[in-house]
């Protein structure tokens, strides 16, 4: 059995040595207290933070069907290098992941390409073909390995249908992840509705397109006494509603993405299609409200909403370009800014990227206790690096942060005791 000894890493601020035997944690001791076993591979982690592997509960890996944008191999490569030990992949592939055969094929590809992880956790479609008409066979999907249900990409407009999705998913212990968007208010929109969209003539999506559905979902969740998870929340109205719901004891959880904390619709002033994403980048007031919601726990988890596209698809006038930002390569560094600026602590950072995702979707978690799965990575919080196309492992180079200098970088990553980066 291979032994691994991580020397002098910072675990929640304390310098520690970590001994790994095979695939699990053997011991975590204050640095210098024990010496490395003779047969152990020793890794000097001085100056580096040790994080349990993170979860990204919202990605689009594009396989099957859109392998020119991304495939499971390249998506998991970006995940591994980005600090993610597991990713939850949305169902808007072609064919849609609305049957066990698609789920199984995805899992098989993941197992073939990255046998030691990062692990792929498929999300099943809520309705057949994501059309919002007939329920998908959620029992079959759960059995095949889907960990949640979602309509992401094609919001369910009808409230009654959405109610049925929640109820039926609950039958199999699955939580529904809702992409909150009123299809009539969001029709033909290409950015946020606000001063910028109205100055440059682009049809904008109002924040109420999102928040009205957030309100609907909260009221349904309370009425049904069932959980609902709200995808990529982007605006003040939504987080105000979620805060209210949580205070009432509604089983609602919510996620947001790095770009909603760092950017506003001002960046689209120049019709930047790299910044075209759905929900769209909002106003500064919304951005500040999102930071506040992350700080006070209204937002439970960070996700990337990793949505890779090919260059030729984004190189159009804004109306012709698809929505989406490629996020796996950069998300950890981008959200580390929130620790640096004091919005959240390092412990809250771990909660947002690892503990809460594991709790909400019932995924394994490394707490660094003896016998825990040895999924962790070393992070240099000081290293500055350029997010160039070459530095990205995803096929999708579509990010408004391209060529920005980021601070904080994943230096090494182990999953089940095996080094993957």
């Amino acid at each position: 059995m291979m032994n691994l000894f991580i020397s002098n890493g910072l675990l929640r601020g304390t310098p520690v040595d970590i001994l790994v035997s095979g695939s699990t944690i053997t011991s975590v001791t204050p640095h210098g207290e024990v010496t490395a076993p003779e047969d152990a591979e020793v890794v000097d982690a001085t100056g580096l933070i040790v994080f349990p592997s993170f979860y990204d509960c919202h990605v689009h890996l594009r396989e099957p069907g859109f392998e020119y944008k991304e495939d499971i191999e390249s998506g998991l490569a970006a995940a591994a290098h980005g600090g993610f030990g597991g990713v939850m992949a949305m169902a808007n592939t072609n064919p849609t992941n609305d049957s066990a055969s698609v789920t199984e094929a995805m899992l098989q590809r993941a197992q073939q390409t990255w046998p030691n992880g990062p692990y792929l956790y498929p999300i099943g479609a809520a309705t057949i073909g994501l059309k919002g008409k007939e329920l998908a066979p959620m029992g079959e999907l759960a059995e095949a390995g889907c960990v949640a249900i979602s309509n992401d990409g094609v919001p369910v407009g009808g409230a009654e249908m959405f109610r049925h999705c929640m109820e039926y998913a609950a039958t199999y212990g699955l939580t529904v992840i809702d992409h909150c968007e009123d299809p009539t208010l969001a029709k033909d929109c290409h950015m946020n509705e606000g001063t910028v969209s109205e100055a440059i003539g682009v049809k904008g999506q109002p924040v109420v397109a999102e928040s009205m559905q957030v309100a609907r979902d909260i009221l349904l969740a309370e009425f049904l006494n069932l959980p609902v998870h709200l995808a990529h929340v982007s605006c003040k109205q939504s987080v105000d509603l979620i805060r209210w719901a949580k205070a009432r004891g509604v089983k609602v959880t919510a996620e947001t993405c790095p770009h909603y904390l760092l950017l506003t619709d001002e960046i689209l002033n120049n019709y930047s299609t790299a910044a075209k994403v759905n929900p769209p980048l909002r106003s500064e007031e919304d951005r500040l409200a999102m930071k506040e919601a992350v700080k006070d726990g209204t937002i439970d988890i960070f996700v990337t909403d990793h949505a890779p596209h090919a260059d030729h698809e984004k190189e159009h006038p804004i109306e012709g370009a698809p929505n989406g930002i490629s996020g796996l390569d950069s998300a950890v560094a981008l959200t580390w800014t929130q620790v640096e600026d004091g919005t959240i602590s390092e412990d809250e950072f771990i909660k947002l990227w690892a503990e809460k995702p594991a709790e909400i979707f019932k995924l394994p978690l490394n707490t660094f206790a003896e016998g825990d799965i040895a999924d962790f990575f070393l992070f240099d919080p000081k290293e500055e690096w350029a997010l160039t196309e070459e530095a990205m492992h995803s096929k999708g180079k579509n990010t408004p942060f391209l060529n920005n200098t980021l601070k904080g970088r994943v230096k090494a990553h182990w999953l089940g005791g095996t080094r993957v980066v």
Binding site: A199, I200, G201, V202, K203, Y271, H316, E319, G320
Partner: protein
């Protein structure tokens, strides 16, 4: 030709009026005045742009603007080539980028683009070395229209903009003409009023440097000019208006309204007009109407625009 040999036009492209300083606007309109004078002569053609080529790439239906550019180019002896959406490879699925690169490979001096996508002109301007003139992109900008309107107003107001008040009436929300005019006129010290039902105004209009009215009777009081906008008839189908007769009853500009304006206030319309819908027919033909002057101003202004952009790199120009 235009006398100021030392003024080198600093812009490769004309994407919107917002990129132009007021001095540059003034220079452009002075140049247009000289061409306007040429347009009154028995022989209207000058050799200024002989050997230059201008591509008229209209990916959205247009008769007036396209013809205006075509006449402007030909009066300057440029060769003009037309490409419309139905005849172009855009209908065969070619991307705007590839169409633009293909056109540039034929070495034109200026590409004039009309496109339904906002920012389309900027998109191709960033990728091409030749001059790009925006002939209207989506709801964003229509700089040549704003400049010809400015030419028309400048003549009507004897070059005095400051302190004047203009009412822009109609579908501001979807109007590139309104956006470009508001930008230019407010910088010139003109007080701009807007009047339309709430559904045809931007949600954030209160952050614009304008006064907003819903009541035309109040909006028109004491104005020095009214600019009517064309109402796209599909606005009714998209649920923004109940029916056109209600719109006409409330927002059609009539002679009675004009009694409340300053005496001799001018009436503009970018065309094509819906008579009886946004402007009363008799008003369109009255002595204060400048609708046809706008058309001739359009040719002169576009001659100036083509001239400045096609010759800026020439030695001694």
């Amino acid at each position: 030709m235009p006398q100021e040999k030392h003024f080198i036009w600093p812009h490769k492209d004309l994407l919107d009026v917002s990129q132009l300083s007021l001095e540059e606007v003034s220079h452009l309109l002075d140049t247009a005045e000289q061409f306007h004078e040429i347009n009154q002569r028995p022989v209207k053609k000058v050799p200024t742009l002989k050997g230059k080529s201008v591509v008229l790439f209209f990916a959205e239906p247009s008769t007036r603007t396209k013809t205006s550019f075509d006449v402007a180019g030909k009066r300057l002896s440029a060769d003009t080539f037309s490409l419309s959406s139905s005849s172009s490879s855009l209908t065969k699925g070619e991307s705007l980028k590839d169409t633009a690169l293909t056109l540039e490979a034929m070495n034109p001096d200026v590409i004039v683009l009309r496109h339904k996508a906002n920012g389309a002109s900027q998109f191709i301007a960033e990728r091409l070395d030749c001059a790009v003139v925006n002939a209207g992109d989506g709801c964003h900008a229509h700089p040549t229209q704003a400049l010809l309107d400015n030419f028309t107003l400048r003549r009507a107001w004897n070059n005095e903009y400051a302190g004047k008040t203009i009412l822009i009436l109609g579908d501001v929300k979807h109007s590139r003409v309104a956006r470009s005019n508001i930008n230019l006129l407010t910088r010139q010290g003109v007080k701009v009023r807007l009047c339309a039902p709430r559904t045809l105004l931007p949600h954030t209009v209160n952050s614009w440097p304008v006064e907003v009215f819903h009541d035309l009777n109040k909006a028109v009081e004491g104005v020095d000019a009214v600019m009517c906008l064309r109402l796209q008839l599909e606005r009714q189908q998209s649920g923004l208006l109940p029916d056109l007769s209600e719109y006409a009853r409330t927002y059609c500009l009539t002679a009675k309204h004009m009694e409340m304006a300053v005496e001799g206030a001018k009436i503009l319309h970018p065309g094509p007009m819906n008579r009886g819908l946004e402007i009363a027919s008799d008003l369109a033909d009255c002595k204060d109407s400048r609708v046809l002057n706008q058309v001739s101003a359009g040719v002169a202004t576009r001659m100036a625009i083509l001239y400045l952009h096609a010759t800026r790199k020439d030695k001694g120009a």
